[in-house]
């Protein structure tokens, strides 16, 4: 299975995302921000980093890039898209996911191994987890506090659109300790901590993150 990995100017984690796709048994395909051709991929990853230098707001400019002009309609038609960290911010700015990510509650950049609980395993990117599985993956962000209005929060909870919650401390002040959400169809997922940095215990705190990628690759083989 071919999975696209987008590189914007300022993206950092595209190589780790591509490596994760490979570990999961898929074939990573590099997608450049200035291109409009999705090259027939069966899924797309928007990796972490600082797209376009995070100018204006995180993800605000990336939303208008040529590749996003191709990804947004494809995602609305069911193409699986995973946004990690900055990718999550891009998905919110693109209105593929509701809400917004704001400065961490303590205003400091956080970098640590974080325990999260997978609370919805029905999405395109979480079906290889077991229900309520707790995993530990790196968290590294300055603007990771998930915010939305009360009505949106209620809808997210009622529709089981929360994918993962922080366990123990809520590190960045996200509403309802939300670490990741999905859209109503379950094909678009945004996650603040980094599963692509935790696919092999040699290079990460665990190999727990790999299941995000095998969720897609296994299901579509």
């Amino acid at each position: 299975m071919r999975v696209g990995v987008v590189t914007f100017p300022g993206t950092l984690d595209d190589h780790d995302a591509a490596r994760a796709v490979k570990y999961a048994g898929g074939e990573p395909v590099s997608l450049w921000h200035g291109d409009t051709d999705l090259q027939g991929v069966s899924g797309v990853i928007l990796p972490g980093g600082f797209s376009y230098g995070d100018y204006l707001r995180c993800g605000a400019i990336a939303r208008f890039s040529p590749i996003m002009n191709a990804i947004v309609p494809a995602a609305e038609n069911g193409l699986p898209v995973l946004g990690i960290c900055n990718g999550f911010q891009v998905l919110c700015e693109s209105h593929l996911l509701p809400g917004a990510l704001t400065r961490n509650v303590g205003l400091h950049f956080l970098c640590r191994d974080q325990e999260i609980e997978i609370v919805n395993k029905d999405s395109a990117w979480s079906n290889d987890f077991s229900t309520h599985q707790k995993i530990t993956i790196p968290l590294k962000n300055g603007e990771g506090s998930y915010q939305c209005d009360d009505k949106t929060l209620q809808q997210l909870e009622e529709n089981s659109q929360v994918i993962a919650r922080y366990v123990g401390v809520n590190p960045n002040g996200s509403r309802n300790a939300i670490a990741g959400i999905t859209n109503k169809k379950g094909n678009v997922v945004g996650i603040m901590p980094h599963p692509e940095h935790a696919i092999d215990s040699l290079t990460g705190p665990s190999a727990d993150g790999l299941a995000f990628f095998t969720s897609l690759v296994k299901a579509r083989v």
Binding site: L56, R57, A60, F64, C92, E93, P98, G99, A100, T102, Q147, C148, D149
Partner: protein
């Protein structure tokens, strides 16, 4: 710190100053408002006001 003024509120925030060589028409103002909504601000977390100065 020795300041004696007592404001009733304090606001810190972003401002964008767009300079045109003419006063904006109603249509242009509408377009600027659209840019403010879709690009310059995120209405999920921010509010904005537009002010025209001659």
């Amino acid at each position: 710190m020795g300041f004696t003024f007592s404001p009733t509120s304090v606001r810190q925030g972003k401002s964008f100053i767009l300079t045109l060589d003419h006063l904006p028409s109603a249509a242009e103002l509408k377009e600027i408002e659209s840019a403010a909504t879709s690009l310059l601000s995120n209405p999920v977390i921010e509010t904005f006001t537009i002010r025209v100065e001659n």
